[in-house]
Symmetry: C2
Subunit: 261 residues, 2 copies
């Protein structure tokens, strides 16, 4: 296996740049993944690993478990100095990959037909986005819609938070929220805007249509007035505690759970 | 207002040590809080602020909003160098406090009588612990039980994740899990062990007793066999997606939601 010993190596620099810059990821159509489990998940879900960096100790420890991966991808041995430089976790496991973006987009037509979708509007916290994608898969949702202003799903923290669900879930990124909602409305898809509003429809009194999209708003501000007005059903979680203190991912979790059970 | 300009100042060092060391917090019966909203929450919930550190710009910006707090507590002006040294967040807001631990313990007898409680057994992730405490308050649970091995609730990340719920929720810390469960059983409290087990009772088929304790296990390993055996009802979330991919705080969220609705 070829070795990379210099921190100034072109691919080391490329890895760091891809990890930190959304626009660079989009330009190159590449993203990064770290840790044994996530790289395995990527590999098993048909993501192309363009380049794998592995420390000697990880390579030796995982030579059996990752045999196929090591045989079929472009691997480079890295020093622990380089590991420290490129890792974004507290306890790196010695394996890193540069991957090609998979086109996970689905056609809007799919939604008209049938299915339950969650749409994240302007969410900024990568941990929340990852957790919601992971929970959406867990409860059996059919896909994820992200507005362009939401934290992108190739962000390393979103990938980590999702525990690999981003590799499996269909994901659609949209630019024009209101145009998209109009389009859904014309095609009889129900759109549920989650709001903190006592006058909105109570989640527990709601029946979800066979084609439903649940909208979750920004962590601090929720959904904007015009987006709420453009949805067919504003919906709220009524409970005896302090509902306003649910965070975005917990509210999304409860809403998706009720939608799918 | 007195000024602190040296990073070697005794109280600056004390703040850092209290932020990082659980045993030091326990020895001194003190803990730290950062940010405007959390310090306000602490203040309004009867937590004694022993000492507040504030930057000039925060003091000027918040002089009206925090007037009462500034007047009644022991405040020191700090430089932005010190702010950088002591802050544990990416965008510090210039205000920090050393607080006295409040005795939030409740008597076990309270549980016998009536109420819904969540018990965290050996949870290690401070973010999860904070989020679960926050969600427990949001859905209206009556209190929190933490095993001694669970991340302590005066950990700064737990406080942040809970958004101040730790200041309001009754919290009991226990040493002997099985002794505690025996005790509850003898007093007719139902204990629900959350497990990933198809043969366990389905959450959706469950009625929760008027005195109920829900047990959530460690992120990686779940609850141990002996703890599960010692509970009255093993309980599981059945769903059409990939249940095993729910994380501890999401599973807790769904379980608490069903328990309280």
């Amino acid at each position: 296996m070829e070795q990379i010993t210099s921190k100034e190596n072109r691919w080391v620099k490329e890895y760091v740049k891809l990890s930190h810059s959304k626009s660079y990821r989009e330009e190159k159509r590449l993203f990064t993944v770290e840790s044994v489990k996530l790289i395995q998940e990527a590999f098993e879900n048909g993501i192309k690993l363009e380049m794998v960096f592995v420390t000697k100790s990880c390579y030796e420890k995982k030579s059996q478990e990752l045999e196929k991966l090591f045989q079929t991808t472009n691997c480079y041995m890295i020093s622990s100095d380089i590991e420290k430089k490129i890792s974004q976790t507290m306890s790196p496991q010695g394996i890193f990959a540069i991957c090609s973006m998979l086109d996970k987009t689905f056609s809007v037509d799919t939604i008209y037909h049938k299915g339950k979708y969650v749409m994240l509007v302007d969410l900024q916290d990568s941990g929340n986005v990852g957790t919601i994608i992971r929970t959406a898969e867990a409860v059996g949702m059919d896909g994820i819609i992200l507005t362009r202003s939401t934290c992108d799903y190739f962000n390393p923290k979103v990938i980590r938070g999702s525990m690999g669900s981003v590799f499996r879930m269909p994901i659609l990124v949209i630019d024009d929220v209101n145009g998209f909602l109009d389009n859904l409305k014309e095609n009889n898809v129900k759109t549920y805007a989650s709001v903190l509003d006592e006058t909105a429809q109570d989640l527990l009194q709601s029946e979800f249509a066979s084609s439903s999209v649940l909208l979750i708003g920004n962590e601090g501000n929720g959904l904007s007035e015009d987006v709420i007005a453009n949805c067919t059903n504003p919906i709220t979680i009524k409970m005896r505690g302090k509902a306003e203190s649910l965070n975005a991912s917990m509210a999304a979790c409860i809403l998706m759970w009720e939608m799918m059970k």
